[in-house]
């Protein structure tokens, strides 16, 4: 059985989730055929996400085909996508004058 490196849940997604701990420089296959790959710019732990396209600052992070937050800066393909470069839109008491 081939070891699955990462999963893209939905075709609309711009992030993949690592299914094993992956090292910088790894060329990750994003489909079983292996015709789409992304080179990791940093180490990605099991369960963590990396970008599969360039994501512009303030644009949506999409996983499960749904918006899970927005980028706080430009994110390059193969970069770790997490709380250092993503904010959520919900439960944001710090923005409570604008929301809900």
């Amino acid at each position: 059985m081939s070891k699955l490196q990462a999963v893209v849940v939905n075709s609309l997604d711009n992030v993949a989730t690592a299914m094993a701990t992956l090292k910088t420089g790894t060329l990750v296959k994003l489909s079983e055929e292996g015709d789409t790959t992304v080179e990791l710019r940093e180490d990605i732990s099991l369960g963590h996400k990396f970008s599969i396209h360039q994501i512009e600052s303030d644009s949506a992070i999409v996983k499960y085909g749904e918006v899970i937050g927005y980028a706080t800066r430009t994110i390059q393909p193969g970069e770790h996508v997490h709380i250092h470069n993503v904010l959520g839109n919900r439960g944001r008491g710090d923005l409570s004058k604008e929301k809900p």
């Binding site: 996400k49 499960y64 996508v81």
Partner: protein
């Protein structure tokens, strides 16, 4: 399919046959626990509520205790009261005995304090255990089963593996005529538009959006980004970035069937199908909400390895995280491999979970039942402690 169960007077079926020692108030917890330790076959439920609270919260605690007492996994109940709490002992006793179940009660302050209370209580509990032991298991169809569904200590493997696999098991039970309860309203946030499409009516649809809005307002009232609290530090370490991501991964554990109705915390949904109990995500309160709703078995999907079970409801821990399975054997019942599932249908994994649930229903012990890690329980309340 069928399982072995203990028949109850209200025509429900228990998968366990415990005598429940229910503490009425935080101040009676230790006596309840000491009684259960001296009466093997009994088990204590303790919590931090029951006094110095506003009326709406006391009402929640009262109805939750009644519903817990009615859970089919309890053969009979001993209520342990301190004597000066704000919960009405007789109301709880009457509520539970309406199900036809035997309910005994002791009041610590009337009995001369904790030592005589433990002596009298354990004597009563042992008699109840002997009576309960005469109830014989019999084979009943799986339509008599009610699952509670929970995910906890989640990471991204939860949303990709163990939650959708659990959802497939839920679909199997509902196809077979059973019922299922989900809670954790916080973890609908960012995914409620998807879940609401499964509401059976416009009313239930709106109610779902309302409970999420109210939960979000309570979080926002704290004036900070709720990240760190939800998703938790552990969720974040496991790769979950926002509550939206957590929720989208969480709702799939409810499967794909229609949502019949939404209930406030502490109520017992009537009928078959899938129901929502409005509850928070935190384990001590969420698990109690599922048990109070009449779940005989809880399917608990975890990424990072939540430890706990529940005193009288077997909790089956399911993970898709290989590191957690390897490192935390005391916390996990079932491991689903990524290679088996991701990108494929979850039917196979759902069947594995479903068959395990029927085994556990018929008597197979869960890991939490054998470790005894079942004491981290509470009842969800909304208002201030006063």
């Amino acid at each position: 399919m069928s399982f072995l169960a203990y028949p109850r007077p209200d025509n429900s079926f228990g998968v366990r046959n415990h005598v429940g020692i229910l503490s009425m108030v935080a101040c009676a917890n230790d006596v309840a626990r000491w009684i259960s330790e001296q009466a093997p076959g009994s088990i204590a439920f303790t919590h931090q509520q029951g006094c110095c609270q506003t009326k709406p919260d006391l009402d929640i605690v009262t109805r939750t205790l009644i519903s817990l007492g009615k859970n089919p996994n309890l053969a009979s109940v001993l209520l342990v009261s301190l004597g000066c709490e704000s919960i009405a002992l007789n109301e709880v006793a009457e509520g539970i005995s309406n199900s036809g179940k035997v309910v005994e009660q002791i009041v610590i302050q009337k009995l001369g304090g904790s030592s005589p209370a433990v002596a009298k209580g354990s004597r009563l509990a042992r008699q109840l255990v002997i009576k309960a032991s005469q109830i014989k298991q019999r084979s009943v169809p799986d339509s008599e089963l009610r699952f509670g569904i929970k995910c906890g200590a989640s990471d991204t493997t939860s949303g990709l593996i163990s939650n959708p696999a659990t959802g497939a098991a839920v679909d199997l039970l509902l196809d077979n005529g059973g019922s299922c309860i989900i809670g954790e309203t916080t973890e609908f946030m960012g995914a409620e538009h998807i879940l609401a499409k499964r509401a059976i009516s416009a009313g239930v649809h709106q109610q779902l959006l309302n409970i999420v809005e109210q939960m979000e307002k309570r979080a926002i009232a704290a004036g900070t980004d709720m990240r760190g609290g939800q998703p938790t530090g552990g969720n974040i370490a496991g790769g979950i970035t926002t509550i939206e991501e957590k929720s989208l991964g969480a709702i799939v554990k409810s499967g794909s069937k229609p949502i019949q109705a939404i209930y406030e915390y502490g109520h017992v949904p009537e009928g078959k199908g899938l129901f929502i109990i409005d509850s928070p995500g935190r384990e001590p309160e969420a698990l109690t909400g599922l048990a109070a709703a009449g779940a005989q078995i809880i399917l608990f999907s975890t990424g990072r390895g939540a430890p706990q079970g529940f005193p009288f409801v077997p909790v089956i821990k399911i993970t898709g995280n290989p590191q957690t399975y390897k490192n935390l054997p005391d916390h996990i019942d079932l491991y689903l491999t990524p290679e088996d599932i991701v990108g494929h249908s979850f039917n196979k994994a759902g069947k594995v979970i479903y068959e395990e649930a029927l085994e556990v229903a018929s008597g197979k012990r869960t890991i939490a039942e054998t470790t005894g890690y079942t004491g981290a329980t509470n009842i969800y309340t909304l208002g201030p402690v006063i």
